[in-house]
Amino acid sequence: MPTHFPLFPPTASTVAVEMDLLYLFIVAICAFFAILVVAVITYFTLKYRRRSPDAVGADIHGSLALELTWTFIPFVLAMVMFGWGASLFFRLASPPANAMELFVVGKQWMWKVQHPEGVREINEMHVPVGRPVRVSIGSEDVLHDYFIPAFRVKMDAVPGKVTTLWFEATQVGTYHIFCAEYCGTKHSGMIGQVIVMSPQDYEAWLAGGKSTGTAVENGERLFTDLSCVTCHKPDSSGRGPSLLGVFGSTVSLADGRKVVADENYLRESIMNSQAKIVAGYQGIMPTFQGMVTEENLLQLIAYIKTLKPAAPAGGQGK
């Protein structure tokens, strides 16, 4: 039986300390109210004990001033909690532009991780300390959730779309990765480790790792193997639109709508090509649903994104 008895998980990311502070702040408010109310009630029950079997209480019906006070104070406190929570939430949702990008795919019951340089690992994720890391998450089957308690981050892996989380590790060490969304038999076995290393160690580890080609290289190869090239030529001579610079651009669709081409748009264009047809083209592109794995897909997207220096990312409906 372990002897140490922690109350907090390790604080190993830039947001962890603030998360703990927010937590303690709310603990303080709530402890105050819980103790206050219970103490008051217990005190009244003792003080105003029934002294004779027929005794009745005083004829008091209420007080508007009191009602307003105890409506207003909790309201204000709740709004403070909301404000702080919302600001932290926004920061957790917006990865810095200079973040390095990792790809994580969940499938029953393992996590597959790929580094931009091409190194892959399973149920382990090596990251450098002090550098923001953006993780693009996909799922091959059901819902999962990528959870690293030490970093205080968590995000669902949703089949059919790409989701994102980011963190910046501050402490070298080894921490848990959990799958936090129920996914079946071995949900509790879908765990792993994040290994935070100094930048030098990370470089060394990368160099020692067996690269199976970078994500972009793999994506480029798939682009040829799956004969995407036959339709998507660099100029507009193919049967499909040129994909140069498509990422981040605003695409006009056949039905007159405009969408910004982000990861989920690219994903949908490949897996469910009929959903949005580019203006001026026929919906002849086959769907690659079932032919490319979630990993391949992230690689294809990584490649398409390089087809032009990425413009500021926009988004679309998914």
Partner: protein, 104 residues
Amino acid sequence: MSNSHTPHIITPASTYVMVFGGLIVLTILTYLAAINDFGALNTPIALGIAVLKASLVVLFFMGVRYNTPLTKVVVVAGFFWLLIMFGLTMGDYVSRSWLGVPGR
């Protein structure tokens, strides 16, 4: 217990027939509107006519027009709750692209 005895109104048959006529006319109208393309207005027109037809049925065939205010509140509340469901859910879907980070 409410003792308000709303006087008993029996709707004349002619009203029913007129409402029926209205419904048929609106059905034809919605068909004609549908085979023409009004662009972005297609859906609002179709829905507008449908709401009109539904209101005719609710008010006359179902007699809400002559019913207690309570019934009216119940009917309106039903549709209002539906709008809550549609509104907040679509609010999510419509705003998904705003931040520009996939999945956020």
